[in-house]
Amino acid sequence: MSTHAGSMGLDSRKMAFWAFIGSECLLFASLISTYLVYKGKSLNGPYPHEILNIPFTSFSTFDLLMSSLAMVLALSAIQRGDMRQGKRWLFVTALLGLIFLGGQVWEFNHFAHQGLGLTTNLFGSTFYVLTGTHGAHVTVGVTWLLTLWVQALRGKLGPAQAMTVEIAGLYWHFVDVVWIVIFTVVYLIQ
């Protein structure tokens, strides 16, 4: 019954996912508020302006934005039944997600070498927990997309499963939007 439109004319899974995203908004809102409350309260360095690399992270942000575009193309291809394009764009979306994660690993590693650890100061703690939580969400998303891609390769994903892809896309776009907010709050407004 979950694949049929219910009394609101919406797919149940999609509706549940919207509720989930609403809930996730509060999760990230709490983390971002914590970051803002502790902004400038670190007792010792390194401080944000000494360490954040805006050009590098702008590239990561662009990469994640492009992955959202790829996700749109993947969904639209699968909805019209063009599985060849669908597979290609699903893979591209996951790949761009992996590049973002690689960038985050490089960034964390780089910061650690510059002396910013999880417990160094409040900036380190709030920064790593906030961006780390986001990174965990991206990881789940990449895993999900790769699973769908493998399903598609095995011929088990077709237009009939478009709703599954649409929900994965919803999640992916949400994670992307959250990153835009984090990028703005953490990197751009110092």
Binding site: M8, A16, A19, E24, S30, K41, S125
Partner: protein, 598 residues
């Protein structure tokens, strides 16, 4: 046995929730009796300070997360699909997952009472001991070095997962699974209040989850989110906790308000007065509940402007609450009241909730609250709201719907004993606490000097608490021993003459609930009203075979991953954590690709 463990039937899950939550209610009650026995006399004779602190911490945590919320979940599960004309909830396996996470999270928390020897100490020494509100920075590793708070931080996170999963499930069920014609403004008030409750759950629990995660980082990885020495601020914890904690109060009381709104009309033989106003005031309470958290923090010293704003928003909540009470009394007005046990409990709810609400208004005023907060006056208030309110409401619900859930009527005689003992017991226990609080007795103390002059009041409270214990045993006896068969199918499916859809199906309902999907034309589908006739009786057997979903192991296995991870964290064994992660991944994948026709 296997069919119960793998069940995805909302009715079976509802019964599982009931028995499990009732067991936790008894445990939480025992903890309360230890507290009251200790305080019956001054100078702290009885248990040690350490044991006492574990008792009141676990009493609060258990009653909120393991007893009251899951007892409401029991009724959500059993009744709501029936009330809206659905064959199950939207996601039956997610529903089973919620239940198993709740059980295993509860077992994990309570295991802390017994596993002291594994940490090189005795039993009753490593249970959580910093209060159900776990204020920072007492909960930091420096001031709470043992595993006590680790159990609490991890256990409450696990329980949050159960509540969140159930929240998504019931929102979608109520919005999307209604029978034809069951428009939103025909939905019974109990279902409406559940919907509001679940919206609060999915917005409030992420906030406490973040607070707990930050605390977990402080304790396990050495961050300083709430540690002043590292620049952190323990007051941030209070904001995050109460941004969750106050909405949580409405999570506990709104379902009881919904139950009363069902019971009163049935036993007054009148429709609920002001249905739309009752629904909207419930929604308004849900919204306002988000803007009042700092009224728990007046003594912090946030400044006169913040105090004034939060005093104002808090007082505003009294208005929709008062409106509901007036509408309930107007529902009685001009009716033909039948004093069944369910009705007695519903009336007791109104009478006691008024007292709890009014004492609440006295601490909405910050200066007055500076004398009342953290005293027994507030203990009196919350117990008038959560026992006089939520518990009496829940008992009304269980006496009302027990025949629906089991096909058996509870004894009305024992029910009346249960009611009167509860009512007298709770007033003996909690009313004197107003006085002991105003006369200067703080809460959370394992001992008090005789010179405070509150000794006899405390003795009365203790007697009252034990009376509540006796009342609960009467209920227990009633559930087990005195079961008058309401033979399924043969007797009336509806012993009360209710108006809502759950009474249109046999008691207990068949696994598919409705033999044919009912078409709803009004708010009171089973009553004759000016505009429509009662809906036609449903056929006894379905005209066509109905597919019902089978069982699944994966919800249980996936749920089990969470306490495994938590156990690994508490015992500092990384491989156990990783084992939990592996189980989680396998569980999720097998669940997702299981051939399951929901």
């Amino acid at each position: 046995m296997k069919s119960w463990i793998t069940t995805t039937d909302h009715k079976r899950i509802g019964l599982l929730y009931f028995w499990t939550a009732f067991a936790f209610f008894l445990i939480g009650g025992l903890e309360a009796l230890v507290i009251r026995a200790q305080l019956a006399r001054p100078e702290g004779v009885g248990v040690s300070a350490e044991v006492f602190n574990q008792m009141f911490t676990m009493h609060g945590t258990t009653m909120v997360f393991l007893a009251l919320m899951p007892l409401t979940a029991s009724l959500f599960n059993f009744i709501i699909p029936l009330q809206i004309g659905a064959r199950d909830v939207a996601f039956p396996r997610l529903n089973a997952f919620s239940y198993w996470v709740f059980v295993l999270g509860g077992v994990f928390l309570n295991a802390s009472f017994f596993v002291g020897p594994l940490f090189g100490t005795g039993a009753l020494s490593v249970a959580p001991d910093a209060g159900w509100f776990g204020y920072a920075n007492l909960t930091s590793r420096q001031y709470s070095p043992g595993p006590n708070i680790d159990f609490w931080v991890l256990g409450v996170q696990i329980l949050g997962v159960a509540s969140l999963a159930a929240g998504f499930n019931f929102i979608v069920t109520i919005l999307n699974m209604r029978a034809p014609g069951m428009r939103m403004l025909r939905v019974p008030v109990f279902t409406w209040m559940t919907l509001v409750t679940q919206f609060i759950v999915i917005t409030a629990f992420p906030v406490i989850t973040v607070a707990l995660v930050l605390l977990m980082f402080d304790r396990f990885f050495g961050t300083h989110f709430f540690v002043p020495a590292g620049g952190g601020d323990p007051i941030l914890w209070q904001h995050l906790f109460w941004m969750f904690g106050h909405p949580e109060v409405y999570i506990l009381i709104l379902p009881a308000m919904g139950i009363v709104s069902e019971v009163l009309p049935t036993f007054s033989r009148k429709p609920l007065f002001g249905y739309i106003v009752v629904v909207y005031s419930g929604i308004l309470i849900g919204f306002l509940g988000w803007g009042v958290w700092s009224h728990h923090m007046f003594a912090v010293g946030l400044g006169p402007i913040a105090d004034s704003v939060f005093a104002g928003t808090t007082m505003l909540i009294a208005i929709p609450t008062g409106v509901k009470i007036f509408n309930w009394i107007a529902t009685l007005w001009g009716g033909q009241l039948r004093f069944t046990t369910a009705m007695l409990f519903a009336l007791g709810f109104i009478a006691m909730f008024i007292i709890g609400g009014l004492s609440g208004v006295t601490h909405a005023s910050p200066p007055a609250d500076l004398q009342q907060t953290d005293t027994y006056y507030v203990v009196a208030h919350i117990h008038y709201v959560l026992f006089g309110g939520t518990m009496l409401g829940l008992f009304a619900g269980f006496y009302y719907w027990w025949p629906k859930m089991t096909g058996r009527l509870l004894s009305e005689t024992l029910g009346r004993w249960h009611f009167w003992l509860s009512l007298i017991g709770m007033n003996l226990a909690f009313f004197p606490m107003h006085f002991s609080g105003l006369l200067g007795m703080p809460r959370r103390i394992y001992t008090y000097p005789d010179e405070l002059g509150v000794t006899s009041m405390n003795l009365v409270s203790t007697i009252g608490a034990f009376l509540i214990g006796v009342a609960t045993l009467v209920f227990f006896w009633n559930l087990f021993r005195h079961r008058r068969a309401l033979a399924p199918g043969a007797g009336p499916s509806d012993p009360w003459g209710g108006a809502t859809l759950e009474w249109a199906v046999p008691s207990p309902p068949p696994v598919y609930n409705f033999s044919v999907m009912p078409v709803v034309e009004g708010r009171l589908p089973l009553w004759r009203t000016a505009r429509h006739e009662p809906i036609a009786p449903l056929p006894a057997t379905p005209p066509a075979p109905i597919h019902v979903p089978g069982g699944s192991w994966w919800p249980l296995i996936t749920a089990a991953a969470l306490p495994v991870m938590a156990t690994g964290a508490v015992s500092r064994e990384l491989w156990v954590v990783l084992l939990g992660v592996a189980v989680l991944i396998v569980g999720v994948y097998r669940w997702a690709y299981e051939p399951f026709e929901g």
